[in-house]
């Protein structure tokens, strides 16, 4: 696999893309001989199926300036910078325990423990957790936050009971 970069319609090789973080925390992509760098944002094409592959680097207008097919194709420093950025980009609240799951008027109330601490959130009654390929469950609350519930076998009995209706 190799990373390609679009430059005036032409595809160029990965070794011409380097990433670094400026002092003001802006992520810069240096393309070819350019040493100034272009401020970029990172978008994952396959956020769940291939979280560390197919990373799209986009400029401030949203145009793709490079597609990183695999992190291993980048030089060590660029890779470290991108990995750090991805940590933030893919941040999702990981639910490790369900303390309570209740139905309220038109809403379902979740009281959970996440890796970031305890959390209370609400989902619409017809929004059900979606089972992911790794066995975890993904649900989005009414505010737009994503919660990834760990697979059934990693949950305690009480949590499993709460999740049972959504388990398969």
């Amino acid at each position: 696999m190799e990373t390609i970069m679009k430059e005036s319609g032409a595809e160029t090789h990965l070794d011409r893309v380097r990433l670094r973080r400026r002092e003001d925390q802006v992520l810069l992509a240096e393309v070819g001989a350019d040493k100034l760098g272009v401020p970029v944002t990172v978008a994952r094409c396959l956020p769940w199926l291939a979280a560390d592959q197919f990373i799209s680097l986009r400029d401030k207008d949203g145009n793709e300036i490079a597609l990183v097919r695999d992190l291993s194709e980048l030089d060590t420093d660029s890779r470290a910078v991108l990995e750090k950025e991805l940590e933030f980009v893919k941040f999702c609240l990981r639910v490790t325990k369900l303390d309570q799951l209740k139905q309220d008027f038109e809403l379902r109330r979740w009281e959970v423990q996440t890796h970031a601490g305890p959390r209370v959130f609400q989902t619409l009654l017809d929004d059900w957790p979606e089972k992911m390929s790794d066995g975890s469950f993904l649900i989005r609350d009414i505010c737009g936050d994503f919660y990834q519930i760990v697979p059934m076998h990693e949950l305690d009995t009480k949590s499993q009971e709460y999740l049972w209706s959504f388990s398969d």
């Binding site: 002092e23 933030f88 505010c143």
Partner: protein
């Protein structure tokens, strides 16, 4: 701060604490400290910052003051970070999946002055702060509303949009619903009295049976009663029973009639109140709620409430009365046997409750599976052409089969639960009756314990049979109440929503306007955060035709919405003939404006009724003249029923071009002083466009016209063009003047369209 705002702040605070488990407002100790530091000035805005640098939960606050921004975090209580607003040069937002970072930058290339992380839940509140600072950087000043109110509205909005009246109390809702009984007090009293009498009468036959056994049959068998007395008693009892049955059915009739009518009347009142209230609501309300949700409140929710009012309330009350009555009678007949029967009642109720919980859990799963099954259907049936084109029939059969199998298994599970529960419940109940038999028979036979007459025993057995029904009803009370309260919540939510300012009364009437439209520094935001219009100013003279041009999402339709008075400007003034629309009585104003939209909306009814919609007293000749002017007359005459043709819901029986011409005829008959044309000739073929365009040419004569058109060529007749981009008015002038502007937005748009036209022509 007015009373309404105070009430809303309190409600928002309660919603945030109850539903989101975070503070409902900025802690008082922070307020006190910043007020001291800022010489008495209170926070302008604030937001809760729920993540720290390690991206774990944490209580932090971002507070915007008149001259500074403060960040305080619970994991660094000593470190209150103040940043001067003057030092800020740029604010940058970085978005993650469930986390956003806001970076406050000073000089270019230097380390950030401040950086905060928060979940999407806090996004609106933080964006408000960012908006004010961004505006300041661009040289605009803003005056946000009360900080507590803005924070509460921003954070609670997700919950409030998703749910009906929040933070409500079940009993309060039921009590409010019962108040709708007030106009029907007589019917309610009669219905309840009849239902109560019916319940009490049901308790009499078992007692009479026992009496017959002990006082007639036994003496007859033992020869202790003479024939004449026996016949007299028998007739009296049969007569009494007959009278009882007549009374019983009479009560049943009164109950059904009064309460069914009552339920229907209450639902009727609610529907009327709801619909009248809906008409008073602004478009802002309708843009927030889904059409289906509003319709179901007027239809199925009020219907569900009818059911609850007519039968639910009574059934529940009577079941409790019946159960208490039965328990009392049984204990009075024989306290030992009575206790054997009544003591297990709480256990039975508990079993019903647990069963309900277990079955609901399975129903939820079954409902999910059912939805997946129907999703396959709604995917494939409309897309059958694609399925066949890609030869995927086998795959789709497999997909449906798997979903069907999974649904079947879940429903089997549901059936397994209830088919096990009911026999088990009946067995337990019969076990108790068996205990009663075992305890009673030796006493009836006189071999053990205090004696028990055969008649009392028979009565007892009959009463026992009546125990199950009220238990069942009481077991379902929670579900019934929840459903009804939920519906009541949804209905009351609409009734309680106050019409927006633009719909309120006591404003200046506008008669015979000339049609001069002025925008004075108008800004507008649909969501209260992002500005869709930014300080837009222009003047339109009476009788002038203005073309609004710009890319999608530039703010063209927003301008026409403000001219029509559908929304009020967030700041600045929208004036017609010098009168601020914020002060004008919009009903009188709207009678003088007309609109022709891209998707013309016709109501179910005849073409005649649709053309007359804005002017119902217009004569037939006027209607025909309007239709002729709109190029609609010819196609209408070709329809078998002419102007009396019913167009069906939303006018679906007519083609797009025909609907548009009927809507133009409607606008012509309405004879507006200000006319808004919003993409009136889009989505139609060239020939139809030509017909519509010539109809429009006749319509616009002598009126103030504001036209939006995707095809710039349709705006050739315009006196002036206003070019809008990203919410700002960027260019203004005639077609020729704008084309002369090098690097002008209009010129670019025009060039793009010309190129496209040539490309298609080639």
């Amino acid at each position: 701060m007015n009373e309404k705002n105070t009430g809303q702040i309190e409600l928002n605070r309660a919603v945030i604490q109850r539903y989101l488990g975070q503070p409902g407002s900025l802690p008082e100790q922070i307020v006190e400290q910043v007020v001291t530091r800022w010489n008495g000035d209170r926070p302008v805005l604030y937001a809760y910052i729920d993540l720290n640098d390690e991206l774990t939960f944490n209580e932090g606050w971002l507070v915007l003051g008149p001259r500074e921004v403060l960040f305080v975090s619970s994991d660094r209580v000593e470190d209150w970070k103040y940043v001067s607003r003057q030092d800020l040069k740029q604010i940058r937002e970085v978005n993650g999946l469930s986390c956003t970072t806001l970076v406050f930058l000073g000089s270019s290339g230097k380390e950030p002055l401040l950086q905060v992380h928060y979940t999407k839940r806090q996004q609106r509140a933080v964006e408000n702060i960012r908006f004010v600072l961004d505006q300041e950087l661009e040289g605009y000043s803003t005056s946000p509303e009360d900080a507590d109110w803005v924070y509460g509205e921003s954070v609670s909005r997700g919950v409030k949009d998703a749910q009906a009246s929040v933070a409500g109390n079940q009993l309060a809702v039921i009590w409010r619903l019962l108040k709708y009984f007030k106009p029907y007090k007589r019917d309610v009293s009669l219905g309840f009295a009849a239902a109560l009498a019916l319940t009490l009468i049901s308790l009499v036959p078992p007692f009479l049976t026992g009496y017959v056994v002990d006082q007639i049959l036994k003496p007859v068998e033992s020869g202790g009663m003479d024939a004449e007395k026996m016949i007299q008693l028998a007739f009296a009892i049969v007569g009494g029973l007959g009278l009882l049955h007549v009374l019983r059915e009479l009560c049943a009739w009164v109950r059904l009639k009064k309460l069914a009518f009552l339920g229907e009347n209450v639902a009727y009142d609610l529907r009327n109140q709801l619909y009248s209230h809906l008409q008073a609501m602004s478009l802002r309300f309708f843009s927030k709620k889904q059409t289906g949700s509003i319709i179901s409140r007027v239809s199925s929710d009020t219907d569900r409430l009818w059911d609850f009012v007519a039968f639910g309330v009574v059934e529940m009350t009577l079941s409790v009365v019946m159960l208490i009555g039965l328990a009392s009678v049984l204990i009075a007949l024989d306290w030992q046997l009575g206790l054997v029967m009544t003591l297990p009642v709480p256990i039975f109720l508990w079993a019903y409750y647990l069963h309900g919980k277990a079955i609901n859990k399975r129903f939820l799963k079954a409902w999910r599976k059912w939805s997946s099954l129907t999703a396959v259907l709604s995917d494939t049936i409309p897309g059958m052409k694609v399925v066949k084109a890609f030869n995927q029939e086998e795959r789709e059969i497999g997909r449906f089969g798997r979903a069907n199998q999974s649904t079947l298994e879940t429903f089997h599970d549901v059936h397994r639960i209830w088919t096990s529960f009911w026999p088990l419940l009946m067995f337990s109940f019969h076990l108790i009756t068996l205990i009663v038999w075992a305890m009673a028979l030796p006493r009836v036979m006189g071999v053990w314990g205090a004696s028990l007459t055969t008649g009392t025993f028979v009565s007892f057995l009959m009463y026992m049979g009546m125990f199950l029904h009220p238990l069942e009803v009481i077991g379902q009370i929670t579900r019934m109440m929840n459903r009804a309260v939920s519906s009541a919540h949804r209905v009351f939510e609409v009734i309680d929503t106050e019409p927006h300012a633009e719909e309120q009364k006591n404003r200046q009437k506008m008669k015979d306007i000339r049609g001069e439209v002025t925008f004075e520094n108008v800004s507008f935001s649909y969501d209260g955060v992002r500005d869709n219009l930014k300080s837009v100013s222009f003047e339109i003279k009476s009788g002038e035709m203005i073309g609004l041009v710009g890319p999608s999402g530039a703010g063209k339709t927003t301008i026409t919405n403000l001219v029509a008075g559908f929304y009020a400007a967030t700041s600045g003034r929208v004036c017609v003939d010098g009168i601020d629309l914020a002060e004008a009585e919009l009903g009188s104003y709207r009678r003088q404006i007309g609109m022709v939209l891209q998707e013309p909306f016709l109501f179910h009814g005849s073409i005649l009724e649709n053309i007359r919609y804005g002017n119902q007293v217009a004569g037939y000749d006027e209607v025909l003249e309007a239709a002729i002017a709109a190029n609609a007359h010819d196609f209408i005459c070709r329809l078998p029923l002419g102007y009396e043709t019913v167009v069906g819901e939303r006018g679906h029986t007519l083609s797009g071009g025909e609907r548009q011409r009927v809507s133009i005829a409607r606008a012509i008959l309405h004879n507006p002083r200000v006319l808004i044309l919003d993409e009136a000739t889009s989505n139609v073929d060239t020939e139809t466009e030509r017909k519509i365009q010539s109809a429009l040419d006749r319509l616009i004569d002598g009126r103030t016209v504001i036209a939006i058109a995707h095809r710039l060529s349709t705006l050739e007749r315009a006196d002036r063009l206003l070019v809008v981009k990203e919410g700002k008015l960027v260019e203004e002038g005639t077609h020729a003047e704008l084309l002369a502007l090098e690097n002008g937005v209009y010129r670019k748009l025009h060039e793009m369209q010309t190129e496209l036209h040539h490309a298609f022509a080639v």
